[in-house]
Symmetry: C2
Subunit: 405 residues, 2 copies
């Protein structure tokens, strides 16, 4: 029997118990042993729920029990999750977690403790919910140099962008609807400001580089400034706007960014709608690949956590996860990234185009019937630094959205 303890009986924790109850026979067959939830750690009691008999309130009960071989951390947040995970690993127990904040901040250290103890620290559910991405990067795409990972990594904002695109709704209305549907939190900041996607791309960037990428270093811009007018321009260009989290290799360095981007119809991420997530990967020999699925939700996330538990149960005393070292990787400054830009500006295109081209180089003007006194234009490829310098000269610029090629 393989005994596990689940830390936290919230949405994901109760999902983990439900998945093990639902698919237990199949899971046991895959492990070749019986998987048993021995404890669930939660501050609360759940009278009347069958889980109650497994509820414990003290982490020491878990960590001091030599029967517990795997600890599932699904509490979220840095503390006390970090302390509990670290103590579990130091006690020789493998850990599976869905906690992106914990992995982004302390992943390198926790992986290193797991390796020293010949056990495992796995975190498939921390990025992309149920979508397998960590394990494919770790054990499938091993013949490649991964040159780019670009993902739609946040379901809430993708739901909002989809509604704004297809229904022409404005930001505030869509946010309210997302909140009413339970897709967005009452305090939506972590989603709409891009902080959630930022932690996830930090994890993926660390994995593909093998070094520590600090999420604080990643330029992050949310969707709060995207308007229904922006979507009108996007449609006129046969493009859409998505919150992308992206990491691109440039020699031994990485460019990383979280920001809304314009995407053309031919891009594999164009049609990723509603709360779905997808991760586009470009390998130097594999070429383009994409992984698509439910990026959040109780059961999809729990599915990924339990898959990690299965892997850990099959490798109780054998470390299987690639390390990322704790040496920090310095990201290239945002000013050095090169892109095309879509710019909205007040004024008249016929009057201003020649002057704009004298500063930005050749531009492509986009005008929208009904939007008077302004127009849009696409620049050629410029560094973000160059763009910013030149943009300063044009006080009527209303906004800029980067273009994903």
């Amino acid at each position: 029997m393989v005994n596990i303890a689940v830390l936290g009986y919230g949405t994901v924790g109760s999902g983990v118990v439900e998945v093990i109850n639902t698919n237990g026979a199949r899971i046991n067959q895959r492990i070749g042993d019986e998987l048993n939830v021995k404890y669930v750690l939660d501050l609360r009691d759940f009278p009347g729920d069958p889980i109650q008999e497994k509820i414990v309130h003290e982490f020491d009960t878990v960590v001091e029990d030599p029967d517990i071989q795997i600890v599932v951390e699904v509490m979220g947040g840095i503390e006390p999750a970090y302390t509990f995970v670290k103590r579990s690993l130091q006690a020789g127990k493998s850990v599976a977690t869905s906690n992106k904040a914990l992995v982004a901040k302390h992943g390198a250290e926790l992986l290193s403790i797991a390796r020293d103890h010949n056990i495992n620290f796995l975190f498939e559910a921390s990025v992309g919910g149920g979508i397998p991405i960590i394990r494919p990067l770790n054990s499938s795409m091993t013949a490649d140099e991964i040159e780019e990972i670009t993902g739609i990594l946040n379901g809430t904002t993708n739901y909002m962008m989809t509604k704004m695109f297809y229904e022409g709704a404005d930001y505030d209305a869509v946010l309210k609807e997302a909140q009413d549907n339970g897709y967005a939190e009452r305090n939506p900041e972590a989603d709409v400001e891009g902080y959630d996607a930022c932690r996830k791309i930090a994890i993926l960037s660390s994995l593909i580089s093998g070094q520590q990428v600090d999420f604080e270093d990643i330029y992050t811009e949310g969707i709060t400034k995207i308007t229904s007018e922006d979507m009108m321009y996007a449609k006129a260009m046969d493009m859409t706007i998505k919150l992308l989290a992206s990491s691109k290799r440039d020699g031994d360095h990485l460019h990383a960014i979280v920001a809304p981007h314009l995407l053309g119809r031919e891009h594999p991420l164009f049609n990723v709608n509603d709360v779905f997530n997808a991760i586009f990967v470009h390998g130097n020999v594999l070429g383009d690949a994409m992984f698509y699925g439910s990026g959040a939700g109780k059961l999809p996330t729990a599915s990924a956590v339990v898959a990690d538990v299965v892997d850990e149960a099959k490798h109780l005393h054998r470390n299987i996860m690639t390390m990322w070292k704790s040496d920090k990787l310095e990201l290239l400054p945002i000013e050095d990234t090169k892109k095309r830009y879509f710019v909205r500006i007040g004024g008249n295109a016929a009057v201003m185009q020649a002057y704009l081209e004298s500063r930005f180089g050749s531009i492509e003007v986009v005008e929208i019937e009904g939007l008077e006194g302004e127009f849009g234009f696409k620049t050629g490829i410029l560094s973000e630094g160059e763009y910013r310098e030149i943009a300063k000269e044009f006080p009527t610029i209303k906004g800029m959205i980067r273009i994903q090629e």
Copy 2:
């Protein structure tokens, strides 16, 4: 040093050597040892090519060399591949292959020999080229019952369907263009008749059921009867036509089919175009997921083969691949599958609708301007057996395409 031998220096074989040359440093870092191509087995010589010094003509040279730990089989076809792979495994050498015909026919036996010798038989490249799908099924989606796998598994036919859909071209013109571009063979039968996709879905069906699914048992219909008129109807219904290979769980059994299907715009496979492949998976807790990428091509396929080699080099004496047993799984008869059908029929809709509805139940008529003397209709859900019985009564039926929900 980990020494490997590559059997066959054709497209994939030379790709394998190229990938190892290109990404050798990264690959060695991942293995924690140096990967060395010691032999390349081919009947031909390659004078002037640096590979020549590694060329051998006798398989015995490979199998009798105790230094060779991993054999890469990329010759294709059943013989002599089967004999070479079996002898390699029996000699304690792990094998990585891209050979779908071999895996579909002898996978269960070869996996069993590998397990008995505590080595590995891996075949990621046999389905979906560079797309990771075998390994995700084997080690990521292990908390789920996989209820459905539906894939666009053949790039040639997907290229043709895409051209027919977007350009309105007819079948013969598109086939000729595909042949001229090198996307289709001079003898295109294996692709256009669905035989290639059939072997691939047989492999996936065996993996998700854990039993032997014989490709000969899978109902297989190619794209040869799809016309530009069919595409006109598809467009009118805001759908497209794709050659789908699909396996669906029904209790302890599976329904499996390869056939052209109509797909709606909301289906994740709708936008998989050109030579790209994609595999849609539905798990009972994961929900929907999709894997997308290059389904063929020298380097993407070689990328998947070399990733298997990396895994085998990391697990030289440890079996890591889930078995499928050699007991044969009886598929459910095609007559029992339930679907909606799109039917083209000669005649006049106004005249015939009432009578058609008396036989098929409620139908949805589709008429195309310019196509005189015929119309199309969508049925409700019927078993294929029921559909076939009723269809016999209507000799003016020109064709039927199944609808994928």
